[in-house]
């Protein structure tokens, strides 16, 4: 195996994930999102194998080609990427699983392509900065735009950092805590990216620099992480006030309250690390 495969898998996960976010139809979005989450699990299994092999790998990526004019163009792009990755798999039970999953994805997407009612234009990148059903003024729109870009990057970063930490972590407690934080970030990323899609602002977050996840001091990372969560809480509260929209404000207050529990989980991890130095 080599690290190039890890990069390809990372890119494939992002292509399907952000492709799913771009689709308006909820049922089609759900199908693609499920495929993307399976690809994320593949990525984790692949990382675990690379750690066992003592092979180096990272989260570097090329630009992700997922912007399509309509659903059918997107499905075709995804099928091409799924076919392409098959050629770099090896013979093993894990790769047989990857291939089997992806053969089904291709079959399902091909089936969807055969019914023209599944096609619709994609407007997730048109920069309209308007959300159907919401009358936001310029100040509200600007506040929401900046928040969504900052936080979608942050959630992507957290998924990758905690996933990377778990590759090298032997503690059941830490694995459980990081696993919970990864789940939470997947939910937050999905929520923010769907809003970005509705506003025509959808984009894949920039590449995470190696220093962010290849660190030596987990305690320091957690201490910094707690400060960042506290800052994120403040941003959510500020945004809820600035947006001043009943439904959106309720959503950001809900996210804000979730950050409290993230801090509690990270503090629990810190206590464990201090007691097990």
């Amino acid at each position: 195996m080599n690290s190039n495969l890890f990069q390809k898998k990372h890119e494939l996960w992002l292509k399907i994930l952000f492709g799913s976010f771009s689709v308006k139809d909820e049922a089609l979005y759900d199908t693609l999102y499920d495929f993307a989450m399976i690809e994320y699990r593949h990525l984790v299994w692949l990382g675990d194998e690379l750690v066992i092999e003592k092979s180096a790998f990272d989260y570097d990526k090329n630009s992700i080609d997922f912007q399509a004019k309509d659903n059918f163009e997107l499905f075709t792009l995804i099928i091409e990427a799924l076919n392409e990755i098959q050629s770099i798999y090896h013979d093993s039970v894990m790769f047989a699983r990857f291939s089997s999953d992806e053969a089904y994805f291709i079959e399902k997407l091909t089936f969807l392509l055969s019914d023209s009612t599944n096609n619709a234009p994609i407007t997730a990148f048109d920069k309209s900065r308007k959300m159907e059903g919401y009358a936001l003024d310029q100040t509200q729109t600007d506040a929401l735009t900046l928040f969504l870009f900052e936080e979608s990057y942050k959630e992507y970063e957290l998924i990758l950092v905690y996933t990377y930490s778990n590759f090298y972590n032997d503690s059941k407690l830490l694995a459980s805590i990081f696993g919970d934080l990864i789940h939470e970030s997947h939910f937050h990323l999905k929520s923010f990216a769907r809003m970005m899609s509705k506003m025509g602002l959808l984009s894949v977050p920039r590449t995470i620099m190696k220093q962010v996840y290849q660190f030596d001091d987990l305690e320091q990372f957690l201490r910094d992480g707690i400060k960042e969560e506290e800052a994120a809480k403040e941003e959510c509260l500020k945004l809820a006030a600035e947006v001043n929209h009943e439904e959106l404000s309720a959503f950001f207050n809900f996210i804000n309250f979730q950050e409290n529990y993230h801090i509690a989980l990270m503090e629990k991890a810190l206590v464990y690390l201090r007691e097990n130095r």
Binding site: D60, T145, E150, L201, L202, R206, M209, D224
Partner: protein, 148 residues
Amino acid sequence: MSDREALKDEYIDHMMNPRNYGSMENYSGKGIGKNPNNNELVELYLLLDKDEMIEDIKFQAIGCMSTAVTGSIFTDIVKGESLAEAEDVADEFLKKLAFAPKEERACAEMVAKAFMAAQLNHSNRMKGKDESEYTLHITEDCVVPDEL
């Protein structure tokens, strides 16, 4: 579309599609602009041709969206220009931001300092020094004193 809206549209385009983002293996100079008070930094890579024209330029950042957008705009402007012209752009960048909010000044300074550091690294390497990168610290800070 008014100028303000046009500027916003361009800014949003850089947020969605940052230009020249990433690293470079074979570079002429690598510079880091770093905020000493937190983990924020900008890494900037320069590839110069024999006439010191900027053949390629890349940057990556640990920082806020404003830093990424500033790096994207700066590298987009100077790519293909001479080093001297790029220096002028960096100076202009800093002058224009003199009255901007504190956090925006810090972001721009990190990008400009990373560019200056890459030039110094290039110069040192040309003199035969075995130096993989050069680091300069910023003087502005996006953390206001009350928050320290």
